[in-house]
Structure formats: structure tokens, C-alpha cells
Symmetry: C2
Subunit: 247 residues, 2 copies
Amino acid sequence: MSKQATLHPVLPPLPGEPAYLRIKRWVVEHIGAGKLRNGDQVPSESDLVRMFGVSRMTAHRALRELTSEQVLRRVQGLGTFVAEPKVASPMVAIRSIHAEIESRGHRHSSDVLKLERVKLGETDVPLALPEGTILFHALVLHRENGMPLQLEDRYVNPEVAPEFLRQDFSAITPGDYLVSVSPIWRAEHSIEATMPNRQVARLLKLKPDEPCLVLTRLTWSGNLPATFARLFHPGSRYRFTAEIQTR
Amino acid sequence: MSKQATLHPVLPPLPGEPAYLRIKRWVVEHIGAGKLRNGDQVPSESDLVRMFGVSRMTAHRALRELTSEQVLRRVQGLGTFVAEPKVASPMVAIRSIHAEIESRGHRHSSDVLKLERVKLGETDVPLALPEGTILFHALVLHRENGMPLQLEDRYVNPEVAPEFLRQDFSAITPGDYLVSVSPIWRAEHSIEATMPNRQVARLLKLKPDEPCLVLTRLTWSGNLPATFARLFHPGSRYRFTAEIQTR
DNA sequence: TGCTTGGACATGTATATACATGCTAGTTTT
DNA sequence: AAAACTAGCATGTATATACATGTCCAAGCA
């Protein structure tokens, strides 16, 4: 916690910028420029009062907000310090296939290949429900500008979505419909690379030897198992991406 | 945006609890109990002044903090409303291979296959640096209980880790070393499924026709491009997993 | 020497007040 | 009937002030 000598100059104010934002900007820019480093003490509220010609409450608000944003760390009686960067564990966000395609400015269409009732036990579905329970099953092929991009193989617990079979899944994807009717409380995901079986390869129009990127998803709504879904994607045309911004 | 009738009683104060926290608690408990629902208008600042006997600045602070926490949504001139729940986008966490293997109680070992200088341009590295820049290159095979699990192909900007080549990467993984010496500011990730080339297939001891799960990672430290890494995993023995808890 | 006390300092909370800004609805004007 | 204005209300920002609480350090005392 080393004290800095002179950190001026104070930033030129942007027109119409509130004073507390100007102070926040000054602090983060000094951190970004390396003039304030991890653990360094930042100017106290009364320092900022002198530097910026504001009241203490305004300086206080700037520092308090940066603290709630994890940029600073404050200790009463001691001072305010630059926080250690959080070990942001990189994450890959999984978005609705519909939203994703639309956000690229492309056209999303889908073919409903199956929409039926099945008995648990006839298929390999890891939903924690009694053997023989009736499940809804949907098999939907999603296309981007006509090209197959995702094959959705989904099993649904009728208790959480009784009207599932009556939906028009060329208008709303099964995934989007489910989040709209039943709140997801818990979910398990996994992403793997596999070679497709013949049906998957044919539907996704895969080249020979082209692998599949498979997202498997198991969700619960409250205590009820809600849905089990496998989303198959062509390995040559699909990837999960994420961009992380630490500060 | 429907107005509620009577939302009292005001909560009993907890001993020593600041007034603004008591107001925040009142709001979130009313939301949790369903007495305030999505889109409902919550009491205005002056309502809260009357209900809790505080000044407007105190009520303002409570509502402002809940707004920055995405619990409420405020519109100047109109009022404050319960925010729609954020569409919790499912995320897959990417962990250090070392931590991951250890957390399974297994033994992590690695072979350093290459540790060298290369010129940018001779290889296909998307780091935004001038052609001909010297880069550090490491090729490390990670094993879990002796079985190959990840092939790490990593290029590093010497500016962010000048001592990179002098490290013992059988003791610390290149990834873990880099986060320890240079703070990551931004990262791009992608996950894809590919068929491996012969070298990758041989090193990972892949069966014929076994695909690869590849995590590609590009990071920046400050304005500097820091590292480009491709992490190859055997499709049959590896997956990325995540568990999401919404509430 | 070791303990206590008090002062300086920094943050934490709360209030009263003032003025600015944005939205709505109703009224007046054109 | 359409357009312009205005009053009322709600939030947004800023200030001056007060007192509480936590930390550190140095002076005073046993």
C-alpha cells in the first residue's frame, strides 16, 4: 500500500459530465495508465475534495460506486486502495440459437422433425423421473440462411410445460418457449466433440469425417427436472465464443 | 406497471441496521414474497420518506443501489419499477487444467515438447504485432494419471512475460504462469470441434476418427496482445462442464 | 518496558436543502 | 382537431453539515 506522490493533472471535464463520474473516470484512467497499481492507496475523500473542488459527499459517491464495482477496496479509518483484479474465470456464454442467428443479421428457420410423446426408459434420458413416465420429445433442425446449424433433440417433463406439444416450434424455439413458461432454477451443461451417427450427419449435412460440437443441457425448475436437451452443431461451421473484459 | 394498494407493514428494524439497508431489505422481501411483481411500480422516494421516516437522500440511495444491482429499473419523471429478471445466460467456466485435474484427486503431469523463439509470420498466429516480431512458443502435453488430456500450443508476446522461456513448465502450467505475471484485461475464447492433424492425434493418443475439442484463447494485458493459445483435447475423454444456479 | 489514552485521519451513515431534468396529463391556444 | 404550453411529480445531481466508527500512532503513565 504505497502512497503516490503527485497524480495530477485532474482530467479536463467532459461537457455535461456529472462531477462524481468525472472523479470515477479519473480513478479508472489512472489505474489503466498504470499510475495507480494494485494495492496502491488512492486519494482520500478530502484529497478529492481539494483536487476536484467538490463536496465530500460527491467524492464519497465516486469511491463508493467504484468499490461496489470491485475496482477499489475501502477500509474504514485506513483509506481506499486499488483492488486486486478478481480471478475472472473465463466463461463461455450459451445463447438462444434464434437470438444468435438474428444478431448476425441472418435468417433463422427451423423444421420440426418430431413432436411426440415418449416413455422414459425407451430412450436414454437422464431425467430423474420414474421409469415409464410420459415425456414430450421434440426434434428440431435449426437453419441459418437455409444451412443446417443446430439439431435440437429435446425431452421435456410434461409437468413443467403441459402445453409443450401444442406449440408452433417453427415460430419460437423449444428452448425459448421453455424459459418463457417455467423459470430455470438450476442447469448443468457440458460441451463435447463427437462423431455423429448417420441420422445426425444426414440432417446437419455433415461432410464425411466432420465432427460434431454437442452441447448437452439438463435443467431443473424448482425441484422438478425440467428438460434434457442435446444440441448438435457441425464442427466445421460452429463454435462457442466468449469475450471477457476484466475491467 | 400496475400500482399496488397497501404494501405495509414496514419491516421491523434489525438492531444496528442502517436505514438504507432496511429499505433495500423491505423492497427485496416484497419482491421475493410476490407482493411486488415484475414491472410493478415500487413506492416513490417520497413515499418511502413517509413510510420509513427517513430523508429523501436515504430512500434515494436504497433505490439507486437496487437499480445498479439490476433489481429495479428507474425512469426519471415516471417512477421506479421491478426489473425483469435478467436472462441468465448459461456459462461454461474454463478452468486451469492443473486445478481441474487436482480437483478430481488425480495426478497432473506434463511434458514440455517445445520451448523456443519463433518469428511472427512463420506461423499462423493472430496476435496483432508487427510481422517478424519474436514470439515465445511452448508446446506442452498435459496428462491426467499418465493419460494425455490436453495439448497446449501457446504463443506469448515477450513484452508481457520476458522470463517465459526460463520457466519450468513441468512445475507450473504456462497458463497459470502467465496469469501470475501479467494481469489479463481482455480475452476472447472459442470452442470448436475439429479433426486433428497427425501430430495432434499422435500426441493425444487419439483413436482413428476421434475428433478434438479445441479451446482457442486470445488475451490482452492492457493494450498489449499477450498470448494466443490452442488447447486440444481428446473428444472421447474430455468435455467442458458448467453448473448454473439461478437463485 | 509495556499498557492506556487520546488525537488525527479516513470512511460510514444520515439529513435538509437546492436546483436540474424527464415524463405525463390536462389545459389553453391556434 | 391539432399543436403548444404548463403544472405536477419523480428521479438525478450536488452541497454543507453532523455525528458515528474504525485504524494508526504517539504521548503519557504505571
